[in-house]
């Protein structure tokens, strides 16, 4: 796996796909994102890790503006996030998002879930959209479930459909917010395998997860967050074997003893 330089200015600017500069956000009195600087290069897989409440979800959601930020800039492929409206919708189509709770459209079949965005947002012909949807469902291993409703599927299957739904938009980058945290243990791997394959195929990914196996095998970089700050960034090997900050050492000792 390619070593990725952690120094911010090392990567050529042309390869920056997502760039957050000096981003701040409050929830009331809580300073949930504090001076966040983070760049993600094309094809890079970044795992975000940190204690609960440290702002990982908020960071993830800020990247496609499901949360607004108060200051700083967020750019995707060189374009700053626009204000709410058509422009923003267009940009969001380029940023896939996978949620902890799947959020499949409950009143639509699995196939419709994966077709809807293609047809309504990308304006793809129905037949072409269906073909692509079926191919994607096969790719994530739920092709036989196409005509079922989300509630009829297991959590692992639902999450794989959610990944297919996001992929159907041909996103430039995929955001995963704890995609396996709501799953029963035996279903975690089937989802991680799909994600690992995606990483191998060169997808740019931001993954909030505590799955260290995934981080070690698929991530180019681990970003450790605590209390709304990025405390440490390193390659997975460096981070897990030799964390520099006390916060990271403390956190790792807690999750490793489980």
């Amino acid at each position: 796996m390619a070593e990725v330089s952690v120094t911010k200015d090392a990567a050529p600017a042309a390869d920056e796909l997502v760039a957050l500069k000096n981003v701040n956000k409050h929830f009331g009195a809580l300073h949930v994102l504090q001076d966040i600087d983070l760049t993600i290069d094309r094809g890079e897989v970044v795992v975000v890790i940190g204690p609960s409440g440290s702002g990982k979800s908020t960071l993830c959601r800020a990247i496609n503006r499901l949360e607004t930020v108060e200051s700083g800039s967020i750019t995707i492929d060189g374009k700053p996030l626009p204000q709410e409206g058509k422009e923003l919708a267009r940009l969001r189509a380029d940023v896939g998002m996978v949620f902890q709770s799947f959020n499949l459209f409950a009143h639509k079949t699995v196939l419709e879930n994966v077709m809807l965005g293609q047809v309504k947002v990308r304006k793809v012909e129905k037949a072409a959209a269906e073909e692509k949807a079926r191919a994607l469902l096969d790719r994530v291993g739920v092709g036989t479930q196409a005509d079922k409703y989300p509630a009829q599927l297991s959590g692992g299957q639902q999450q794989r459909v959610a990944i297919a739904r996001a992929l159907a938009m041909d996103p430039k980058v995929m955001l995963f917010d704890e995609p396996t945290s709501a799953l029963d243990p035996e279903m975690i791997n089937e989802v991680l395998e799909v994600m690992q394959q995606l990483a191998r195929d060169g997808m740019t990914m931001v993954v909030v997860t505590h799955e260290m196996g995934f981080a070690r095998s698929a991530a180019n970089r681990v970003v450790f967050m605590a209390d709304g700050r990025i405390v440490e960034q390193a390659t997975p090997d460096e981070f897990f074997s030799n964390p520099r900050s006390d916060r990271a050492k403390d956190f790792l000792s807690k999750i490793l003893h489980h």
Binding site: N64, L66, E84, G85, K86, A89, R90, L91, R92, A93, D94, V95, G96, M97, F99, S101, N103, L104, F105, A106, H107, L116, G117, K120, V121, R122, A162, R165, A166, M169
Partner: protein, 215 residues
Amino acid sequence: MNVLLDNLSLFREGFIGTLELTGASALVAMVLGVIIAGFRVSPVPPLRIFGTLWVTLLRNTPLTLLFLVAFFVVPKVLFPDLDSFLLAVCACGFYTSAFVAEAVRSGINTVPLGQAEAARSIGMTFTQTMRMIVLPQATRTVVPPLSSIFIALTKNTAIAGAFNNVDLFNVSKTLSNDGYDIAVIFLWITLAYLIVTYAINGLFRLLEHRLEVAR
């Protein structure tokens, strides 16, 4: 002499008048109500404010007052030539739209936030998200309160009868002026209203049942 048989055509006219007023007002209320509910959950602050104002103003004004405004202020200040049916439909429709909007909004609130977030995250606009994802899932919770709202509307159209519209209430006024026994008139008029409200009730029961089966 029999009130009903002697005046069958007048009764029919009144019955149809009430039906037309109710139907047209319900349509106006439904369309406006959904739009206003959309405004109230929209990401655009001016629309939210407009929606809130609309609901607050119309829900808290006595309908009779709205009729007075519609029939005496609107023709003088804005449109002099609107006919009384149109004015009545506007008054009833606008008034009821505030209640519909609140029912729809509470339905929207029962749909998990994640549904709308997922829709937005694949690039759907606010209107697409509402129309294709949120409203269809809100329908089941919105239908039962809508039934009550439209029954109330049916009865509220009686006020239009006091403002130059031929409806059941207007007919009862005419007949009592003609000297018929008021108790008997009211009996028949009440029965006619019951037919309309009962039909609405049945219609919504059917709708509820079909939505349950669809799950």
